[in-house]
Amino acid sequence: MKLLILVSSLLSTSVLASQPSVADLSKLSITPVEALKLAQKNVTINGVVYQQKVKPSFNKRVLSSHIEIPSLVIGEVVNSTDGFTAYDVTGEIIVKLAGDVDLETFSKDNNLTIKQAYKDFYILKSSDKTNLLPVVEQLQKLANVVSATIDLADKGINTH
C-alpha cells in the first residue's frame, strides 16, 4: 500500500509541491545501484531484450521444469535491461506494409481487431490474453509486411 501511495505521489501530479526534505535524506545511507539486482528474466520484444518479472512456476506456459515458452500479453509490464524505463504492454501491434496484405483474415484468425490505419501503417489490437510474441512472428512472415512490432507504452508519460 505504501508503495502504491508513493507511486501515486511521484507520478500522478503535474508538479511536486513537496519532496523528501534534505533532513530526511541525510538520515539515509546510499546503496550502490549494483547491489539492487531484482529477480527478473529476459524476454525479446521487437528484437530488443527486455526484463520481465519472474512468474510462478505453476504457470500453464511452463511445459517442464526446464522449458518455458516466452510469453507476452496485454497488461504486462516490462523493463529496459538497464532498468531505467518501464513499459506497459498495450496489446497493440504496429504493422508496416509494402503492399496488399489480407489483415482482416489474419486478424479474425488470431482474435485481433484492426484499430487504425495511416498510410502504410496498421494498428491491430489483441482483445484478450493472447501471447503476442508468436502472433508478431506470424505477421512478420507474411508477404508485404515490412515490420510488425509490439507496442510498448512508456510508463513514465504523465501530466506535466
Binding site: S14, T85, I94, N158
Partner: protein
Amino acid sequence: MAFKKTLLATTIALCSATAFADITDSTFVLAAGDPLTPQQWHLQNTGQTGFSLSSGIAGNDLDIDFAHLMGIKGRGVTVSVIDTGVEIAHPDLVANVVPGSVNLGDGTDSPTDTHGHGTSVAGLIAATEGNGIGGRGVAPLANLIGFNFLSNQTVSAWFVSHGLSEDFRQLDRFTDPRVFNQSYGSTPATPQKLDYVANPFAEVQNLVMQDITENSHWGRGAVYVKSAGNSFGSYNAYYQGMPILVLPYENREFFNNNGLPFHSSNISADNNNYWNLVVSATNAEGKLSSYSSVGSSVFLTAPGGEFGQNAPAMVTVDLMGCDSGSNVAGPHSNALHGGSELDPNCDYTGTMNGTSSAAPNTSGAIATVMSANHALDARTVRHLLATTARKTDADNAGVALSFEDTTGEVVSYDAVPAWQTNAAGYNFHHFYGLGAVDVDAAVYKALFTGISLPEQQITPWQTTTADVEIPDASLVGAQSVISNESELTVESVQVKLNIDHSRLRDLSIELISPAGTRSILMSARTGFLGGNEGGYTDAVMLNTHFYGEQAKGDWTIKVLDTDKGASYTLGYNQQVGLIGFNSRNNEIAGVLKDWSIRIFGH
C-alpha cells in the same frame, strides 16, 4: 462608459502610423463579467496574489488586453486537449465544447476526467467569458474538444487524439482542431535513440504530425503545443520497475546541481521533435518557474506560475464539487480553496501550475492569433510568435560553472549563457527559447502585416565522422565541423549524436552556427542515470536559437567534460532509500564519434 472611451482611443490609435508600439504596449482594462479574472495574473498581471500568500510583478503576463478589447478571442478555432480528459459539462466550459471529444477507454463522446488536470488545462485555454462565474480562458471564444489519452496510452488512442480521426477524413471543419495541446510527457533517464526500424511508432508519429501540421484545414495546418516538463531540480523515473525520485548530489549536498538544470527538454523524443512547439514556464515575477524544464528545444515561454501557496499559480477551472479535483473541502493555504465565498462549490482552483499550464496558455495564444486572421498558415503563426516574443527576466545572468579541471586548477565555464542575440537579431535564452509569448504584438502583426513565409524545406541529414577524444574535466573539449551548403534561412536545427562516455552528466554539448552564435544543446550536469549503448547513440537534439540565421557555412559542435567525478546522481524510493548512480568518474576519456545535422528552414 470607460470601455467605450478605451475602444475609441484604440480606434484612433489604429489610424496612426506609429500605432503598433503604443497599442501593444498599453494596458487596457479587461472587461468585467468573471469574478475570478481579477486574480488571473497570466491574463493581466497587476501584481495580484492569485489567492496565494505573495504577489507577482505587474506586466508579467500574456499581454492579451488589446486582442480582447478588439474582440479577438479565438472564435472559430478549435483546440484539442490531449490529457487526463475534460469535464465537458463544467458550467465554465460547456458553452465552448464542440463535437469531437472521445473517451478513449469506452469510445463514447464524453472524455471523462477523474483527475482534474485536463479540465484545468481546458479552462486555461477557453473557459467562457462574461458568464458571471469563475474566470476566463486566454481564448474564451475558442472551441474545445478533449481526450482522456493519459489513461489510455495506446498507438490507436494517440492517432485519434492527435488528429487522425477514426473515419479517416480530412481535418477541415471549424470544429476540427487547429491547435493540439499536450500538457504531458516523460522524463527519460537515458538518451533516446532515433530508430524508426526498432520503433515504427516514432516514425508514424512524425509522419502524422508533419501531415496535419502542413496539410490540414486546406493547407493552413495546425500547431502541436508541448510542455517542456517540470524537472529543473529533480525528476521522476523508474528503476527496475520501481518509481524513484532522481536528484543531484554534490559536495555532500542534496539537490545541489550548481544552479544548472538537472533535466533537459532536449532528451525525450516528443520534446526534440520539430513538429512540437515546446514551451517552458514563467512565474508571476516573469522569471523561470522553479520547476520548469529548459533546453534548446524550447521555442517560447509562457506563464505557468508557482504552487499557489507561497506564490501565485494559475486560477482556472477545476472538477466540480468539493470532493474532487485540486480544490477540496478543508483548510488550504490558497485562499480560493476549501469552499471559499468566491467559489463555494469548489469548481475552480488556484494551484494549477507546471509547464502543463504554460502549454495551454500558449495554445490559447495561438488560437487567438489564428482567429485574428484565419488565412494564416500554422507556420506563419509560429513565425509571428517568434518575431514578437519579448525578453522576460531580462537580467538573468545564466549559470557559470566552476569546476576543478584535470590539472587541479579551478576553472569557470559559461554553462548557461545570459540572454544572447543571434545574427538575425532574435533574442534567445536556454531557459526561455525566443522569449515570452506576447499575444497583442502577434495579433497586431496578424491583423496588419502581410506575412507569407516561403515554402519550408528540410535538408537531409548530413553526417561527419569525428572520432575526437573528449578530455576529462577540461575546457578544451572535442570539436567537429560540418560544412553545410544549403542556402536556407533557419527555422530550427536538429542534431544527431554518437558519443561514447560512461558519465553523461559531466558533458556539456554546444552548437555554434556559421554566424558564430553559440548555443547549449545539452547543459553540463544533466542528471542522466546512464547512457544508451555506452553514451549518446543516435540521440537527437533540437535547437531553436538560430531562428532567422543563414544555414550555409560551418556548423561546429563542441563537447566538454566538466567533472572529474565529484558529483553523484541519486535515486530515492521510500522503501529502498537512496540509490547511488554515477558514483565513479569515467575511467577512460569519452569520444565524440560522429554527428549529423539537418536544417528546417526556407
